[in-house]
Symmetry: C2
């Protein structure tokens, strides 16, 4: 079945095939369901985006900007009556400049492709969310995405030097810098990073790029107690040359990974840490020091991957965690970040919370950042489970906040976490954020209901 | 002579001594003059700041937030009828946490003191403006200050993780993160960085801190042509382990420095580059490579400082540049940043512009960033010189913009550069910035006339 173009906006590329269109209705979030009444434009260029935003302003049509649809919080699901504006086609890599240390690309560029283009110039664009093979640069900016690299290299926000944005009504705004430094006025770039489509449509991204590190090598430590694993994390964070990856896996996560395939993880420990070193010229030396620190902190067993193949297997296992958990049943995935020393409390008390609601949970993630992704086994088709799942979820948000943390380390807020945002933001901040959105989007058409903009 | 406290706001610490008060009327900018009718409060704590901002809102009194008064663009000079709100007394270093990689301090902490407190924990807070011994952390945030470190480490914006801010009317807002990551909503931190007191008063600064590098060693290269020096900069920027300092000095700057004292610079070359390496375990090796690159690019002479003393002398000479120029007469100091490859054009055409207006100029600064500080010999007491000086200044702003640059790399805009800001910002950005300011400061009381807020 095909649908006609909107007669009052004929010259933009509507997706007219109903099945294809339906695919654009949801992202990768828990229980995502598209409404029946939405349409999709897949922009070819800036002119298309300007046209659509002009049309939206004139007709009061909501707009849902969309990248690779890999988001886990419902930030890119279609809303009733909306035009989903896909930026997937805006995928030019314009420039990678080793002298300026900047690269310029369209919002639809796949993050892995962008990283490869940088690597071809011996440069490194660090952000590496698990979905790097299918998520987009624009989506990463919109959610301030992270990944495994953050413990050493930081998050997407740390790499965005400037943006070009189409605003509601069709005005085009540039922010940030194209030079090594700029100190002219407040920089509106940071307002767009993490804005989840609520302010404008990102048209071009200027990123910082840094010299490439050495290929990383990996060590694995298994621990008899959570506390010992947490002590190892604290020690590694204090090292003068800290690791470029420091992942935490609990027992249930390891079991799930190993039941998918043998990735080389030993089972039966309370927790495991994956650690990587990539410092040019010092990889082996740093890794040996990390291994000693794991032992010192009380690891039962420490294995240093002798070659890249073995290291890749361990990393592949870590990257397969989400798939491994989904293989056991549908998952409601949390993303909380707490002060590093509070990790054991987050894990222990998080388990108590989920147990009290009769929900299975695994507690793994970016331990070196204090950023875990508790994964709750909840079937979206079972209303009772869903209700208990969300209650546990909310209590875990409260726990993270009580520990001095945040309700999202890297996934964003979207529509799923919007109800909890008020627990974290002070009124002064929330009111100003909404008023600032109104400066750009007085009619409230941009990604309605997402993040701080939800009522 | 003393002045009474304001009877309607008796409980905050007004500066009552007229001479002391007068000192708070100006910053370090060209031709700065205080108005007669301003008052000064030196806040002791957040409660004082809240009181003053409540009072200002109730009475329509302008507020000029102020740090160390080292600014060069008139961003902290008193305006008629204003209360200057000095944050110099808010100088607690609250926390330096090597595990989180974060430090927390008051806005009045002197940058050098803050750097020392970090160094005591073997941590490094990189920003190092020339005024580090007297400028404040809050002022550095307000202007997005830079320094000699930026070529490797970036600017203040790159190190601000979160803020606590008192807003007009007295509301308190927290922004950013206290954890390793946070992806909840747009981060308003970036809106305050570079805002030059136009939005609120910074009460607390959360900075990133990184592992300390090795003590730096220094090399000096002298060049027969500008082009050769620029080629060396381009080559060094491409190095996989680029320098932590890369300063450019022109012939006239070197002459001025050497006439102040013998800092060890040879005279008669077209340009000199100072280069430093600080990579842990590789300082000597990196510096030798940089030295070879200087020679390769066409340096007449390359001297590697054999010891820290010799290196310190060269650096002290560079740091004395501003004083050395002032010793020859008053200076109107520019601060423009261009794409690195455009440096020779900036220098050559900048000299043509100043010559056409009969103004002496030196062109030196942070060459590795493309960020120079052309210094125009202009006597503020000579109206004709001042007029020609500002005309040359404006043409140099146009030149920087034409070359793809910005009118400030690190000094900010303040009141002196506000007339030029419109040449750089697109309308979409300027209008939104002003509307965002109005969200926080509807009466326009915060630092009136500074930066983008100037009419």
């Amino acid at each position: 079945m095909t649908r006609p173009n909107r007669p009052d906006l004929p010259d933009v590329p509507w997706i007219v095939d109903a099945d294809v269109r339906a695919g654009y209705g949801v992202d990768a979030s828990f229980g995502a369901q598209a409404p029946t009444d939405f349409e999709v434009v897949r922009a070819r260029d800036e002119a298309d985006v300007v046209e659509v935003l002009r049309y939206a302003a004139a007709t009061g049509t909501p707009i849902v900007p969309q990248g690779g649809r890999t988001g886990l919080v419902g930030g890119a699901t279609a809303t009733p009556g909306a035009i989903v504006l896909s930026t997937l086609g805006l995928n030019d890599i314009v420039d990678v400049d080793p002298v300026q240390g900047l690269a310029v690309a369209g919002p639809g560029v796949i993050v892995e492709e962008f990283k490869k283009a940088c690597a071809a110039e011996e440069l490194f664009y660090p952000p590496d969310p698990a979905s790097a093979a299918s998520c987009t640069l624009g989506g990463n900016v919109a959610t301030n995405a992270g990944g495994l690299c953050c413990v050493k290299y930081g998050v997407t926000a740390d790499y965005i030097a400037g943006l070009r944005v189409v605003l509601p009504g069709g005005a085009v705004m540039t922010t940030g810098r194209r030079t090594a430094k700029n100190s002219v006025g407040p920089d509106l770039t940071g307002l767009l990073v993490g804005s989840e489509g609520t302010i404008g449509v990102i048209m071009q991204v200027v990123t910082k790029v840094i010299p490439a590190p050495d290929p990383a090598l990996t060590a694995l430590g298994t621990f008899p107690t959570l506390t010992a694993a947490a002590e190892a994390i604290v020690a590694l964070r204090r090292d003068p040359h800290p690791p470029c990856l420091l992942e935490f896996l609990d027992e249930a996560s390891i079991a799930a990974i190993q039941s998918l395939a043998d990735y080389g993880f030993p089972q039966g420990c309370a927790a495991a840490l994956l650690v990587q070193a990539d410092r040019p010229g010092h990889v082996t030396q740093d890794l040996a020091r990390y291994a000693a620190m794991l032992t010192q902190a009380g690891a039962d067993e420490v294995a240093v991957a002798d070659d890249a193949q073995e290291a890749d297997a361990l990393l592949a296992g870590r990257r397969a965690l989400h798939v491994a958990l989904e293989a056991q049943g549908p998952q409601l995935i949390e993303d909380m970040c707490v002060p590093i020393r509070a990790l054991p409390q987050l894990v222990t008390r998080g388990r108590e919370i989920t147990a009290a609601h009769g929900i299975e949970v695994t507690m793994s993630g970016h331990g070196g950042d204090g950023n875990l992704h508790p994964s709750l086994g909840v079937d979206p088709r079972d209303p009772d489970q869903v209700e208990r799942g969300w209650r546990a979820f909310g209590e875990m948000v409260d726990l993270a906040l009580e520990l001095g943390g945040t309700l999202s380390g890297e996934h964003g807020v979207g529509r799923l976490k919007a109800p909890f945002l008020r627990r974290q933001f002070d009124n002064a901040q929330l009111q100003r954020l909404r008023a600032i959105k109104a400066v750009f989007d007085p009619a409230g058409l941009m990604n309605p209901g997402a993040s701080y903009s939800a009522p």
